[in-house]
Each structure stands twice: as structure tokens, then as C-alpha cells.
Symmetry: C2
Subunit: 410 residues, 2 copies
């Protein structure tokens, strides 16, 4: 009988991610892994979670019971208010009706994909870009127009070239990009906003890593710059930037809480799609995120910046010390990732096989982050979950493997 001819054309377009399969293998704790782009669970604020739960349980209005009932699709109003206050700018007076709570920023991308992409729609995105975006956009069967990047992210020439060909939307991670680690400078951001208006292209700005900076804060978001570009009070009618945020990187991913900030006409459409997809995000988790956000978040993020910043420093220093100068790597100002470009012709997948076999060391080969192929000589390193010693040891081993690979006679 067979199910194969029962699946939709969209579902036929979906295939297992090589990387996700790799990550399953990596559950072996003896492997020194720089593969997973995940937060360090040792840094989760569990004492605060317990204190908050106890305080909620002691309240006479029994908010936990209330949060166990069905609730509105838009999300828990106090959390939406906190978000709209947090992201409001001098020119953009955000309101809760501009905010939708989702199951992490990944679901924000999913709802936007359904809302904005038809089969064969042209989508502009960086080369490389976030794999999860490619996975969900792929279920809509678009065409990808990849935008070249340098150490400052997307180049304007390549971006305008894509816009000139006509694109339905631009997806971008301006801050400490996953996987590339690049941050787009202010002037380039400003020009991106101008181009979006010139060519009438919506921008999905994925701000997942924005709070995790290890020196100066990143440049203003595209959302904020669009406010300046449009002038006070114009964004809700004329804005093209949709901004995504999440509790996964600064609080805890297991709660599955993220958010979408959009002009009301877009947000209303996303609410209908969210309602059809899963009614609403877990209310009890939204309440917890709200309590953490208003109680301990700013202090907690200071800790994350210090710890992750030290790990970033250790990784960059070790790569400088050990890597041959035939290898290029990015120096991220935040986030979780360093991006390596190996010598032309060296295959990161082959390198990974040897790394696992010889050194029990793992990273993510970069090819999968390229929407239209290429990047076989690139790889992603995450520094977020490893100790400083493991980072130094691991980078030394990785450099040794690369040197062996480029000098096979050794």
C-alpha cells in the first residue's frame, strides 16, 4: 500500500538534517563537542525558578491554576507588555498588540513562513545562514537568493543584487550570526533598511543572540533603525521590519517561549495562524518567563556575558595560537559561534570524521548552512558549553588535525 505517495509536495521537500542526526550521535559524553549551539545548563537560574514557583503557589489568587487553563492565542498579557516596553524605541511606541508569544523564535519563523512564502517565492538570506530557518522555509518550497557575506555579515552589493531580482522577504541575523559569528555594522544596517523600503521587501530580523554581547553592545537593531528612518509614529503603518526574540538563549530553551514583534496588520495574521497551529503557547511557561524577565534577567545576563565572554576569549586566543594562517576564522563580539574557513579543497566533513575517530572531538561542518550548496571547506565551532581548559585542548587538537590534513605527507 505504502505511504510515500500520500505525502504532500511540501512534506516531500523535507528531509532529515545531517546536522541534527550528527547531534544525536554526540550524546556520547566522552566526546569533546563544539557542535551544539546550545546554552550551558549549569548557568540556568534554577534557584530563581524554584523561588518563583513557591511564591506563585503561595498566592491566594492561585495563578498557577489559572495558567493551566486554555488562554488567548496572543500570549500572556503581562509578558507581552514587558516585551513591548523593552523593545520600544524613541520613534516606535510598541504596544502589546504588536507582540505575539510563540514556542521559541523557531515557531515565529514557521508562522512567518506560512504567512509570507508561496511555492517558488524568492527569499534572500545570508550565505551561510541559520539551518533552522532553511528547514522551515524549505517546507514552503521557495527559491533562495543567497547574499554573500564578509567579516561584517551581508555585503550591500550582493544584497541589492538580490533585491533587484525581486524577493518576497529578507531573513537576517544581524548580531553575532548563527553560524558565522559576524555582526553587521551600523552603517550597513541603515542601508539595509533603506534598500528594504526602496525595493519594498519585508525583513525578518532574528535577534536571538542580541543580548549576549561580550564587549560593547551591538549596533542598533534594524527595528530601531527603521524607526529612525521612518520618523516617530510611522512604523505600525509603514514598517517592514519584523523582529524576533526568545527566552531560549538568556533564560532557558526548555520553556519554549519566544516572541514576534510586528506591525499590527502582520501580527493579526500571525495570531490567526498561531491559533490554527496550536491555540497558544504554554501559559505556565509564559508566566515563568515573565517572572524571570522582570525579576532577575538583567542581572542574570551579566553573568552569562562574563562566562560566555571568557569562553569566547579562550577560543579565539587558542585559534590564533594554534591554527595555521591558511585558515580564516571570525572573531565574534557575542553569541556562541566562531566560523572557520579551511583552505580551498579541504572538506570539513572528512575533517569531522577524522576528528571523531582520532580525537573524539566534534564540530559542525558548514555545508548545510549554505542554502544553495557550497561551503564544504567551512565549519562552525560553538564555545558556549565548554570549559576554558576543554576549549584550549580542543582547539589545539583541531589545529593539529587541520595541519595534518593540509600536509598529508607528515
Amino acid at each position: 500500500m505504502g505511504w510515500q505517495n500520500k505525502f504532500s509536495a511540501d512534506a516531500d521537500a523535507v528531509s532529515a538534517s545531517e546536522i541534527r542526526e550528527l547531534l544525536k550521535i554526540l550524546s556520547d559524553p566522552s566526546i569533546l563537542s563544539f557542535a551544539g549551539g546550545i546554552p550551558d545548563p549549569a548557568l540556568f537560574p534554577m534557584a530563581d525558578v524554584r523561588r518563583i514557583q513557591s511564591a506563585l503557589d503561595a498566592r491566594v489568587d492561585d495563578p498557577t491554576r489559572q495558567s493551566m487553563q486554555y488562554s488567548q492565542t496572543e500570549g500572556y498579557l503581562p509578558l507581552r507588555s514587558w516585551i513591548s516596553n523593552r523593545y520600544a524605541t524613541a520613534e516606535i511606541a510598541l504596544h502589546p498588540h504588536n507582540v505575539l508569544i510563540t514556542n521559541g523564535a523557531q515557531q515565529s519563523l514557521a508562522l512567518l513562513a506560512t504567512a509570507l512564502i508561496d511555492t517558488d517565492s524568492a527569499i534572500a538570506l545570508a550565505d551561510p545562514t541559520y539551518l533552522g530557518a532553511l528547514q522551515i522555509f524549505g517546507t514552503r518550497r521557495p527559491r533562495y537568493l543567497t547574499v554573500e557575506t564578509d567579516d561584517d555579515g551581508m555585503t550591500l552589493e550582493s544584497l541589492e543584487n538580490a533585491f533587484r531580482q525581486g524577493v518576497k522577504l529578507l531573513y537576517t541575523i544581524p548580531d553575532f550570526q548563527n553560524p558565522g559569528g559576524m555582526t553587521i555594522p551600523r552603517d550597513r544596517r541603515r542601508r539595509m533598511v533603506e534598500l528594504a523600503h526602496q525595493y519594498n521587501v519585508p525583513i525578518i530580523e532574528d535577534g536571538a543572540y542580541r543580548a549576549l554581547y561580550y564587549g560593547s553592545p551591538p549596533p542598533p537593531s534594524l527595528l530601531e533603525l527603521e524607526g529612525q528612518f521612518l520618523g516617530t509614529g510611522k512604523w505600525d503603518a509603514d514598517g517592514r521590519v519584523i523582529h524576533l526574540g526568545t527566552a531560549s538563549k538568556t533564560m532557558m530553551p526548555g520553556l519554549r517561549v519566544g516572541w514576534t514583534i510586528a506591525p499590527a496588520v502582520v501580527l493579526d495574521k500571525l495570531v490567526l495562524l498561531k491559533q490554527a497551529n496550536d491555540l497558544h503557547t504554554s501559559t505556565v511557561n509564559q508566566v515563568m518567563v515573565h517572572e524571570l524577565a522582570t525579576g532577575i534577567l538583567d542581572e542574570h545576563v551579566q553573568v552569562l556575558r562574563r562566562v560566555y565572554g571568557e569562553r569566547r576569549d579562550a577560543m579565539v586566543a587558542a585559534l590564533r595560537q594554534y591554527l595555521p594562517n591558511t585558515v580564516h576564522f571570525t572573531t565574534p563580539q557575542g553569541g556562541m559561534f566562531v566560523w572557520l574557513t579551511l583552505p580551498e579543497g579541504m572538506d570539513a566533513r572528512v575533517l569531522l570524521e577524522k576528528a571523531l575517530e582520532k580525537e573524539k572531538l566534534a564540530f559542525v561542518p558548514g555545508a548545510a548552512f549554505h542554502a544553495n550548496g557550497g561551503g564544504e571547506n567551512t565549519l562552525r565551532l560553538a564555545f558556549s558549553t565548554c570549559s576554558l581548559d576543554d576549549i584550549r585542548t580542543g582547539m589545539k587538537k583541531l589545529a593539529g588535525l587541520i595541519i595534518s590534513e593540509q600536509n598529508p605527507a607528515d
Copy 2:
């Protein structure tokens, strides 16, 4: 500039649900509402939730911290094992790889809609049927072939007629249907399975209300009957029935935990779609559902059956006492709903306006539950959240309004 021409054709097909809008108005606590098909929050097992949280917090392996990290898309393995054991039959040896955890059964429907429905695919479903299914199926822009119902649910003649025209799938709620309250008898179920195999049609069996029976248990599920039809050990290769369950009706909807049971080839596809859509369902909530399911569920469901059963009895008795015999109503053996068919020509929307105005009483007009229109003289009553006194008072008032409406001269 405008966003209207930016939305996809799928998104353009989505519009606000009249009923959802109605439910917003009903947040006024002075209204006596039989509209919302939701569990009674007074019955949520909050003491157990607190006891479980404390026990988890006291464990040295700190499971709550672990459950705050990213985790696998398929779901929390102990919960999937509990489900596969619970639903296994004499002929179907379910395994955890047949189970995907979702954000409530609504997300199961969403993933199945993407997996199985193309634009213009023909979908067979009952008239009336669950509104949330119409909402999410609608985002795929299918054609609906509606199947007529009587007091025993779908009629076989109408179902085979739909199958003969060629359908991509059948969606059905065999137990205590939402909105109709009907339960499909065993013989009819058995024949539905035979027809599905004869015409090679996948069945989505929505078992959301299955555990909430107030007398005898409902007939075997389509899943179980398909196992008998196919013989031992055949279902994973040859099964056409996909079964959906949820923690929302028997535990708590705010946790947003449901599940899909499917042959492995289907489940693997759904896992890929789930991963692309939101990575995974909140792990901390899955842990709670697992603890409740293995600890108190069976005992708790006994309480729900008693309390909801009394409310069902009160509603049916009051309708028998007060309604004129020009009105037909179903007598549900479980679930939350009674379905009324008013005299031909009486519009339930008009009746609702008068009910709100004159009696501050609410219900859901039935038209929206009809995929291809019709049903203006039908309405849905929910008995799950009201006291016995409110049910008696409310039904008397409703009957009075209907009598006034059919005798406008009075």
C-alpha cells in the same frame, strides 16, 4: 505600501473565527456561558502538581534543570513509552518510535495537514465537525467533502460516497464528537476501517474526549479495530489509522501537551516537520504530564467522569423537561457537548443575540462547524464548566427563548 499583497495565498485563506471572537466577548463573568468547550479549572489536580514539583526539586539528579535544556523533537522518552504502552492493543505492539509529542492535539492536526494535504486535496470530514480542524486544514486550501451524520455520527452511505469521489484523508472524532456529541457504534467503526483500506484512505482519528465517558466505555478505537482487521504485527507496515490524544481534557490544557500515534514512516515525516516548526514541545511540561499520567491520572479521571457525568445528566434532563418537541438534541455518552437542531428556519445566531440581550446566556451557533455551509438552525451547548443549578436555570431560559422564537405572537 501595504502588507496585504505580501501575504501568501495560504495566509489569505485564513480569517478570524466568529466563534473565537465570540468567546472573547464572553469573558464577562456575569454571562451564563455554555459556549466554551473547556475543562473546569476547579477540577485541575493542583495539589498533585505541587507535590510533583517538590519531589522533582528534591532529586539529586536535578531533572527540572535537565528539562529546561533543548531536547529531542520526538518528545520525552518516558512519556512516549507510557503512551505506547497505554495504546498498544492485542494486535498492535506500539513502540515509542510510533509516538510524537506535540503542543496539544491541535498541533498534531497542524503537522498532519502539512504532511498530507496539498492545495485542492479532497478531505472527508463530518458535518458538523471540530472548528479547529477546519481552521488548520483551511490553511492548506483543500476541498471538503462533508459526510452526513445522524445520532450515531457519520453515515456509512455518505462516507463511502465521499471515498468513491477520491479523498486524500478522512478526519473523524468517533467518541462524543465535538461539536455533535455523537459516538460512532462499533459496527460502523469496523466498516469505516474496511472502507479506508478498500479505498486506500488514511484516517486521522481524534481521540481527545475518549477517556471522558459517563457510562460504559466507548467502542474500541479505529486504531484498535484496524489492528483486528489487519491481524497481529501488521499495523506498522499497513496501518492507515493515525490516532491523536491529549493531556488537555483529562489533565490540563495550559501545559500544551498532546500526542500523535502513527506508523513509523508517517511518524518520521511528522518529526521532521515538528523539528522545523518549533524544535520540540516544552520538556518541563512533558515531565509533568508523565508524572501525572503515571501517578494520578486513572484516579483523577474517575472524578472527572463523576462530575462531568452529573452535569451531562442535568443538561439532558432539563432539555427533556423544557424543550418543545420541535427541537432535536443529542444525548452524549461522554465528552462535553450537546448538539441542538432547532426548527427549520430558526437562526441560532439570532437566538444567541436575544439570549445574550434578554438572559445574559451564551452558546455557540452551529453554522461555523459546517465545512461547506449550512447548519444555521443548529447550536452547541457545553456542560463541562457549569454548576448543576446553572445548567437547570440556563436550559429553562434557553427553552423559553426558543419557544418565544417559534411563537413570535406570544
